[in-house]
Amino acid sequence: MHLILFIVFAGLCLAGAMNLLLQTHPINSALSLVVVMTSLAVLYLLLGAEFLAIAQIIVYAGAIMVLFTFVVMLLNAGREERTLGSRAGKMIGFPAVAVFLGVIATVILKAQNLGSVALSDPITSTEDLSRVLFHELLLPFEVTSVLILVAILGAVALARAGSGERRVSK
């Protein structure tokens, strides 16, 4: 059961990520990213992280992807032009990524004492999570709330009508 779930959703995850790269229209890429994030939520659930699975769906697949699709539609982003792009990026980038993936894969496969996951493992309840979050890590939590506030102000200041254009023309 666990194996079937893992294979199905890992396959969906990789297929969505590949589709993100192959599609030329941004809206198709955004929708395949939703597929990736939703199947990652199932994988989190298999790993016993129930709160993160729900947060993944609400925050990532919900809020962030709505923001992305909204911007794609707002800017009326058309089909991507196939240009040569940066040749250096392709010539150095692809071998570098392949080598990187190979190194990580060998390190992971050679690691000895990695355990295994079973469906019967205890799940981390939201209560455990919040107990650690609000007792030991209260200060970082409050700092992230300030970060969110700054991000809201920055987004409003940047996206305000005529903030870019007018300064260029003057």
Partner: protein, 100 residues
Amino acid sequence: MIPISWYLLLSAALFCLGVVGFLIKRNLITVFMSIELMLNGVNLSFVAFAHQWHLVKGQIFVFFVMVVAAAEAAVGLAIIIAVFRARSTLAVDRIDLMKL
């Protein structure tokens, strides 16, 4: 019973697909989506290691990564809107004002 290394391999594959997307995509929004893909790949390995050592703090780190990703998405998309307003294009090849 699934070895935890499978989850780690999946996370590495997602990260590398994100890097490839960052390199080959020519649309500003899609490049940004590739960054989100990389963040998700890293999150998966955090959750896998949190399960491996039965530590809750690994999952809390993922929570913080999500918060930072949300903030980054808001500011980044605002920057994309500002760039589009100034240059009326989303192709990264045409946004070359600071290139030599």
